[in-house]
Amino acid sequence: MTTPTLTPHDAEEALAALARLLHHAALGASTRAQTEGPGSVLHLLGLGIHVVAAEAAALVGPEADPYWPAPTQQDPMELLRAAERLARTVPVDASTAGLSAVVVGIGDLVREAST
């Protein structure tokens, strides 16, 4: 067993961190798309990250903040990959029901961004 076991509190904080990474990846993608111009295809990728970020935020309890503080990384692709790595450590159980859709969504976005 290589995945470290997380306590319920850890899992909740990991979920919030995951949502923060995705939220700021979406903001970063949007900023980069603005730089590239209104016709940039990054606008669609940014919306995709935003949708997954909103799905992740919906899993976070009301006590945790799924938006702030901002992660230290700034590159949206790096943030997306960090989110993918972090998602591997979150256990799939009753407290994280619905996470699978987020994990699948992140995987699709990473593949979409790096194909």
Binding site: A26, L27, S30, A33, Q34, G37, P38, G39, S40, V41, H43, L44, G46, L47, G48, H50, V51, A54, E55, A57, A58, P62, A64, D65, P66, Y67, W68, V92, D93, A94, A97, S100, A101, V103, V104, E112, A113, T115
Partner: protein
Amino acid sequence: MMTAEHVDQRAIGELLLDADAQARQLLLDATGDDARAMLRTWGEVVQAAGDLWSALPVEPGGSPADGATLAQIEAMSRAMHRAQLTHGWPGEGPTDERLSALTDTLRRAGELAAGPGQRVRLATEPARADLRAARMRTMHTLYVGAHAVGVAVRQHVRDTEATTSPRSARARRDVPRGVDASVRLASMEQLAGGYVGTRYSLTMAGQHYAPPANSERLRQAVATWDIQVHRTLASTPSPANLHLAANAQAALATTGAALLGAATRAGHVDQDAYTQRLAPALEHTQQAWTQSAGRWATLTTRGDRADPDLVHAAGELRAAAREITVDRVGWADAPTIAGRIDLTQAAPIIHQALAAAAELACVHRDVVDQEPTLTGPARVLAAWTRDSLALAVRDAAPVVAPVRPEDIRLNRIVPLTDVVRHTLLTEAEQLVDLTQTAMSVGSVLAHAPRDRGPADQAQAEAGCARCRPDERVGTAGAAMQHRPVPR
């Protein structure tokens, strides 16, 4: 009772694809805690699959043995249900929602197969191949589903053994009955697996697929998005929802430009109209929506969550737009897009989207202007107010409502300050102007595939229903002049 509005419009093939995906999803999420609820619900899944199988047309010359496998699985499922009643385990309790949703999907497919599906004639080989694919998909769903339930039951047995004494009542009840259930499920899985065998990909290749009817998906996604965003903003005009709404509108404007570019190169839209008026108008609305999205992103607070229905509609809008316009990581070229969608149908969809965007901009403006519950983080509002203060003094703007130092220190969630609301309102008014100009310019698209009807004419001249009188005059003027948007 299901109303006409809520009838599932998907075809049998789409329902079966969804059922298969739901079963795979179940495999990802199955845990020991779910085992008892899953065991209570599994029988319904098998029964729905059996009803569907019986309702599907019989292939001419087919052997009665073709249905034997599913009949065996149904018999095993009934036997397992009787054993559950006899032993009182897993007993009464909640059902598994995911398996219930899977049951509903299979039942709907069964209804279609028993109704309109009976009119299908199996005279051609493609029709017979499609039928075989439907049966294969049904069996594959049972195969994956049985495995998922088995995984959950075995995990439950292990959890019980690990956490309770072997002599406890719970262990003496759950462990042997769980083992018994897992053996029965493994038998069902092996039977279904034997049917699937190595023929899955070969059989599924015969599935009927009609590629470029995709304009329907995009049309539906745009319409669904428009309805949902209005519902959401009417009930919960929060920064998280406004952020997502603006972001999706920006992406829709970008996609619209890409689609119209392809339609122009294919000769379905006038070249001058596109380069001189449509493309600049879409660019300007895109930039305005993006600016708005950025504003609401900064005002989102820790307890604020986007409406799940809005998230779903945005996801579907993006998927529908992306599958037509994107190739790998860039925009698809015009011939590729033309191969995916009838470009004569694209223009009216974008025309409707432009009209809806103008209306939504008015909703957005009204929210900023009239919604008293809008809030934001104190530090963001303080910084924004401070930055705007110089401009406010220069332009003699309204009185500034300061943010209290105590609120800033604790970064409390506070109502918007007058300065911030004033800035947002100014930008929202600009957004209304830009989207209405785009709608006016977009009226040329109504000519593309069909004659312009009186409703289109009236809409272009009258503006949207939420327009203020002065805005309506401006819209009508713009429609008549087809003026180029200043760059």
